[in-house]
Every structure is written in C-alpha cells, then in structure tokens.
Amino acid sequence: MPVENVGVGRLAAGVDASIVNRLMFIAAFIVLTFAVFAVRLFQLQVVEGEDLGNRARRNSVRTVRLEAPRGDIVDRFGRELATTRPAFGVQVMPAELRERELTLAALASLLDLDPSELSERVGTPKGRRRFQSVRIARDLPYDSRTRVESHLYALPGVFTDVSPRRYYVGGSLAAHVLGFTGEIQIEQLEKRSFADYRSGDVIGQAGVEGRFESILRGRAGGRNVVVDVAGRVDEVLDEVEATPGGTVVLTIDRDLQRVAEDGFLPDVIGGEEKHGAVVVLDPRNGDVLALVSRPAFDPNSFAGGIDSASWKRLAESEGRPLQNRALAGQYPPASTYKVFVAAAGLEEGAISPDDRLFCPGFFRHGRRIYRCWKRGGHGSVNIHEALARSCDVFFYQLGLKLGIDRMAFFANGFHLGRRTGIALGNESAGIVPTRAWKERRFGEVWLTGETVSASIGQGYNLTTPMQLAVAYAAIANGGTVFKPRILLRQAGPDGTVEQGPEPESLGKVPVSPEHLASITRALEGVVYDQGGTGARARIPGVRVAGKTGTAQVVHLKNTEGLEEEEIPFKFRDHGWFAAFAPVEAPEIVVVVLAEHGGHGSSAAGPIVNAVLSRYFKSSTPGEPPRRPEASEEAARVVRN
C-alpha cells in the first residue's frame, strides 16, 4: 500500500518530478532487499527448518553416559582382590576463568605444577572451544585433592569430578590371575563381539578381567540432558540407570596366594627377586587355590591408561613380568616326569613293584654314558626307592624298556602335552615327544638315546606348571583329570548368585588305582624316607607326598663340576617341586617352579612347605572357614 502512495500521492509544492522519480527508485530498492530477506527466511525456516531444528536439538540435548561400576573380583572367601574406587580429577573451563593468570597460578601451587606449563596447557582458546574444559588431572592423591577442594570456591573456572577407577587391593597380588583393564583398542572396536563398546571404554584386557568381562562390565545407563553452551546441565529429560557389573568369586584363596608369592621375595632386603611360578589346586575338583607367576606387575598402573614408555619397559623387561609363567611358561619337567614313566611301567607290566634294577651311577647306551645325578649310584633299587631317591639310571632302563611312544601314551593320559583349558587364556600346550612327533617336527627318525633323556623328563619334554599340577592332582584324587577351575560363582548386582561351572573331568588316567596308590606311597617316601629328596616339604601333623625335579637349562658340560653358587645365574637349573597332602585324602596340590633356582628340593621346597603350612594351619579366630561343603561336593564328583 505505501508503494502506491509514493507514486500516486498529491504532488507537494517543493518536490519536483525528478526527485519523485528517484524516490520511486529507492522504494524499489528497499522492496527488493526485503524480498531477498523473505526468500532467505523461507529457505532457512521452511525448507531447511527441519534439518536446522535437529541441529539445534543436537546442540542442546546431550546423552550423557552413566558408566556402570565394574564388578568386584573377590577370592573364594569373599575377600576383595579388585574393586573400584573413586578417582578425583580436576578440569579447567577457559570461558569461566575470571582472573586467568591468578587462578591458574593458585591452582598450580595447589597441585605442585609449574604455573607456566599449566597456563600453556589451558591456553587461550577462542570461540566455542572456550567452553571445552581442559583436563588437568585424572587421579589426584588424597592431600592434593583436599587442598583443591577447600579452595574451590575461590577458583572460578576450576571444576572437580569423580570417576570410577579400577583398584587392585593387593597391588601385584595375583596380577596374572586378575589381568588388567585398559582402554579398548582400535582393533577390538572393529570386531563384532565388541559392537556395543565405544572408543574410550575401559575393558578387561587380560586374565579374569578379560575373560569375565561380560560379567564384570555391567550395562551403562544414559541420561538425556539439556545443556547450555557451557555444557552445564539445565534440565534432565529422562534417565536409564546403569546396571552395575556382577561380582566374580574366584576359587583363589588370597592367603595361600600371598604366601606363595612371598616365597619369591629376595633372600636379603634389596636383593634380587626370584623368578618362577606356583600352582595350587584342589585335587578333588580342580579349583585353583593360588596361581603365581613371578616377576609380576602392578595392574593398578594400567588402570588409568599406561603410557607407551612404561608399557615398553614392562613388555621388554628381561624378567618378562607380563608373561604368565604358570600357564605359558614351558619347562622340562625333569624328575617330576618320572611318576608318569613309573605309572606306565607298572600298568604295562614292564616292571613290578618288587623288581630291582642296579644303579652304578651311570648308564651306558650305545657309545654314550648317561649319568645318574648321584655320582656314587643308588645301588640296587626297586621302583619305590627309585622314585623316592629320584634314581635316574633306574628310569633310563625302564624308559628304554617301554619305548618313547608308550611313555607318551601315559603322559598324554595325564593330560600332558595338551592345554588344560583353564579360563584364563594364553596357555601353552607343552610337548610330549613321540616318534611321529619328531618326524613331523624335524623330519628325522627318533633315536633311542633320546628315549633315555625323555625317561627322566629331559630332552624334548616341555611342561607348564599348570599341566604338572593337573597331572599330580589326578594322582592325588585317584585318577580323575580335572579341568582347572578359576570361577567359583558370580553374584549379580541384584543379589542373584550363579554357581560357576561344575567341576569338569577331562578324563581318567589309564592307570589302575592300586598302581596309583603305590606311586603315592613312593611320593610319600620322597618326603619321609631315608635318602628321599623332598624332606623340605614336611610339615607337622600332616603327611605330605611329593616329587622334586631339577631341569637342566644348558648341557651339563657347561656347568659340570662347578658348585651351584659358581654357575652363572641364567645357566643355573630350574628347580621343581610337586606335592600333595594329606596323603590319606589329598585336599591340596602344590606345584612350584623356581627358575634358575638350582635343585628342586632346595629352591622350590621352602615354598611348598610355606603353602602347605598355611593351608593346614589350624583355624585361628577370625580366620575364614574352610569350605565345609567343598569336600562333600568334591567327594560326590570323584565318586561319580
């Protein structure tokens, strides 16, 4: 309407026609400009409106993830091994800093940081980045935390937060059982089984943490919130609560675990820590009561993400602390292997309990001389004495009589040479050599001289401590090979309890109970007989059976004639000790491997002794009770 008015209106006295003309031009220009604005508004609000509206919602509505607290890991008596603790963090939001330099300087002094370094980390971001907070600390020690909190009111722009952090109560205690957590790896994220994980999620990366991730993880909840430009929550729209992870109850006995680990402490303060492994099983059901690998690591150092330098140091350290020696370490079983040869000999009728063989201290086979560990020889020994005194010559002869393949058949019968299938992963299979194996492996014919070495557990034979423990448990329980069990039960956050897998039999050993009984008597002789090699395992009140072993690391000629202390550490022999008790009704099997520890008896014996002593220590007040139902349950399984 006004447009016409400009043109049609009454001519005023002072305005000439040319000016009116120009005014029309201006009016047209203005109308055109507004037309452009209207078209643009139509484009933004009607055509692109939906899309831009969604962007506005994305701006302001944020889904905040509510992390599920990770479940605890406890021992068989409910004592905490791994739990979750709050970690106290500090952030700075640049947009909210009032007196930037003053505030940052004060914060630096509270946190013992360099002020200029802190100032550099915060920087002076522009635009929306000012609203992105800069993390200064993730896990403050308690005293810094209280200092910051008590000054927070005077530090606008400084915020604190609390986030859950995995905490391993015993530090490195049972580190190889528990494993560790860490941020999910890029390769894992690409796999389908990790489809519901997001980058930055903490996930169990090894051991129980990795294997039972699905129990421990829980389910993250979410909360839709309306946030302002600074990310502050303005309104909570809705919320799905997080479901905490379930508790994993392990078969581990924390006390036994600690006692077994303490056996590897240095002899003198500041001395070198000893290397090796311990496996403690309940022979009645395969429960793993303790599992030690030394040297160990502290999984707490992984909990907040480990820097690559520390990781490299751990991974490349000479002692290889990340390797689980009890499952992945393969060692010559040495004399501990003799029980399987003895079982084979008795079962095959190659020898009877009364047969005697003569040991002059050496054995000639072909052009080679094989020595007994005892230079003077054992004289005439039967199988009981040969086991008790660990006579090598007796077993050279028995092994030759049996042949490598029949020895292997019985070793396999005790589940050697195969993975035990324990739910921890990264297990080695060991080696039980046969003719066919050598043919396959090297394309060479088996030599009978190799049978001689094999009959005392040297040569190609390799065993993991866990395999040996499973095999000795089978001797102890009368012939059942149990799959080692680590998960006793799991408890849901709602209190529901689900029992772990039933004790699982992997089969029966191909040896009659009478023969197993006579082998057990011989192993008792190892500990109690005159001349027995395992006297160090004796404990008061309980009869113990066991077998020592000394695994040669390098060929004898390098070290022959040297006293043990004179042999360089890495050339020293590995010491084995496998034991179970009480002899009448075994409840516990202990296998100790002391790397480069020298003789089995002296190196590994004290650890066996400590573990057995702890286990059989009469229950003192405050002590968790031994599982009374365990023996009944196990007895039932064994009877079946």
Binding site: V6, G9, F37, E48, A56, N59
Partner: protein
C-alpha cells in the same frame, strides 16, 4: 514559532509513530526473552526502557521546532559531531578493540554523527539540486562532508559503523546524475579501494568473517561460530517458532550477542517464519512511509532530510538482517529500534522525531 499549532496536531503522522512504537515494543519483549534468567525484569530490559523514555523526550523536543530551522544549524551540528568524534579519539578508552564511547559508555558519538551527517548532506543537496555532474570535482563538498566523520570513525577502529556511515551517505548518490562512464571510473576506484582495504586495513579476524559468509563451515568452532549458530537458531524456528522463551538456541545461550547484534535471530527462533516476516513487514512499511514523507514534504530540504533518515534506518537494517541470515559478513551492527543499546535507540528516535516533524509540517501555511 515555538507554540504547538492545532493544525499541526491535526496533521500529526500517527501511523509513523505507531509503527515506531510497535517495533520498539516488540524489540523490548524480544530483549526480555534474550536476556531471560528468571521472571524478574533484567537489567538490560530496564536500561532499554529508560532509553525509550530518554529517546521519547528527545523525539518530542525535536518535534517542537520547525525542521526548517535545523537547516541553518546544519554546519554547526556537523562540526559538533566531528568535535565529539575527535574527542573520543583522545579521551575514550579502548573497549573490545574500538574506541567509540564517551562519558563512561553513555554516549556513542558515531551514532549522533549519522544524524549530523544526514542533516548536512540534506542541506547540501537541497541547495545544489540534482543535475548532470560532469566532473567529479563537483562532488568535492559532499565527499568532504562524508569523509571527515567517516575518517574519524575509521580511526576509532570501528569498521562496522564507518562502513554504515558511508552507506548512509551513499543514499544521496541517487540524486546525482553521474554518466555511466564515470560510474566505471567510480567502480574501478572502488574495487581498488576494497582490495587495498582487504590487504592493509582489515585485521585477520575481519578477513575471516568475510570468508565465513562464503563458507560458514570453514571453522565452525571459532570464526564461523556466530554465523552458524544464528542460522541454526533461525532455522529451528520453522514456520511458527518454538514459542516465547522456548528457543533452545537463545535460552541456552548458544547464540552469541543475542540481545544486540543477533536479536533478530532470537525473534526468528521463537516466533518462526510468520513472526519474523511480520516484524520485517513493519520495517518495510515504516521505510516506505518514510519515503512517502519525503515525497509529500513541502520543500526540498524536508525531502532530502527524510530520504537521509530513511537511509539511517535502512542501511543498518540491511546489514544486520543480512548478517543474521548469513548473507553478509558478521559486522557488529545492531538492528535499529530493535536491538539492545541506548545510544542507537535514542538517535533513532530523534531521527523519527525529525521525520514526524517533516511529516506534520507538510502543508504550506
């Protein structure tokens, strides 16, 4: 001559006044939403209401004196404005990179200078009626009248206002008859000036802002941030708007300077296409009405002054809405009558006082 004639009241331009009141009222309602914290009136709203009062008194005062008297004081007024501009260069503190406020932030002389400039140019073009211009030298006077205040504003480092003042003055180019050959000359000089300006006078952030119009996604978190958030706010208004005080972009402060430069984005978000078109229509009617006043004025000075006053509203509006809609670079130019800001509002109201003045004295007595 100072008495209010009854005939003047009869001829009073109520339509123009109503349009102004309507826009100012919508602006204050919008300001209340943009600065909304709780249900109390915010400090900004109170200060803006105070400015409306001051502006209203100034408007009535300007109205009382026949506008033809102002022609005589045109040169003096321009000189006062120039003096004030010069004074800011000496006395004013630097606030956000520019130096443009006097008396502790209560007066922005560059706003007043627009009025002074318009009066001076109106006087010039009234006395030198449009005719063929053969030499550029003939434009020396108006160019000088424009160049001195603009130069001083540039020296205050207030590029947005300098550009605006230049645009307002350029309104009068319509009344010169420059042959097309000269336009080519002007264009060449203009482009050369723009390139020089880009390379030497514009700070990097100013260059970025211009580039952001071409591609706002270039750097969404810093320099293009305002443009993008403004577009999101406007778009999320859709057809009918999110409702008063319900725009998330506004209420959660995603919009930058939402009560001043981006006030229109707030309106567009909360009132939608319908609401923003309605307010733009008010402006369109107001501007065309201003041109009608020019056409109906009884003398050349009134016509020239009215055109200049229309320019003082149109150009900031075009630059502001263009910026808000992502069609022009982000220049800190408020929307006249609508955005928060006392000096601008008072100056605008004084300008409308002049326009009402011309309108009600349109008959020769």
């Amino acid at each position: 001559m100072f008495g209010i004639d009854r005939r003047l009241l009869q001829n009073f331009d109520w339509m123009l006044l109503l349009l102004v009141i309507a826009i100012v009222a919508v602006g204050i309602i919008n300001l209340a939403s943009a600065t909304h914290v709780d249900d109390a009136l915010t400090g900004e709203v109170r200060r803006q209401l105070f400015s409306v009062g001051v502006g209203g008194i100034a408007m009535v005062s300007v109205l009382a004196i026949d506008y033809r008297h102002y022609e005589r004081f045109a040169t003096a007024a321009l000189l006062v404005c120039i003096a004030l501009l010069a004074a800011t260069l000496i006395f004013a503190p630097v606030i956000r990179g520019s130096q443009s406020w006097l008396f502790g932030g209560r007066l922005q002389p560059s706003e007043l200078a627009k009025l002074g400039l318009v009066i001076a140019l109106a006087r010039y073009f009234h006395r030198n009626p449009p005719g063929e211009i053969r030499r550029l030298r003939e434009l020396a006077r108006p160019v000088l009248i424009t160049a001195v205040p603009v130069g001083l504003i540039v020296m205050q480092r207030d590029m947005g206002v300098a550009l605006l003042t230049l645009l307002i003055a350029s309104t009068y180019l319509v009344f010169t008859r420059i042959p097309w050959r000269s336009w080519i000359g002007v264009a060449v000089v203009g482009i050369a000036a723009l390139i020089t300006l880009w390379m030497f006078a514009l700070a990097p952030y100013q260059q970025r802002r211009i580039l952001d119009v071409v591609d706002p996604g270039r750097d969404p978190l810093s320099s293009g941030y305002q443009a993008i958030q403004s577009r999101i706010a406007i778009g999320s208004g859709r057809l009918l708007g999110t409702g008063y005080r319900a725009g998330t972009q506004t209420q959660l402060r995603f919009l930058p300077t939402q009560h001043t430069d981006f006030a229109f984005s707030v309106l567009a978000e909360e009132w939608g296409f319908v609401g923003s078109c309605a307010v733009l229509s008010l402006y369109l009617i107001l501007l065309l009405w201003g041109l009608r006043v020019a056409r109906n004025s009884k003398d050349g000075f009134g016509a020239m002054l009215a055109v200049g006053l229309v320019g003082t509203i149109f150009w900031p509006l075009a630059v502001n809405i263009g910026m808000v809609l992502g069609l022009a670079p982000v220049i800190g130019v408020p929307l006249p009558l609508f955005s928060y800001g006392g000096s601008a509002l008072v100056t605008s109201l004084v300008g409308f006082g002049l326009l009402l003045n011309i309108s009600m004295r349109r008959y020769v007595f």
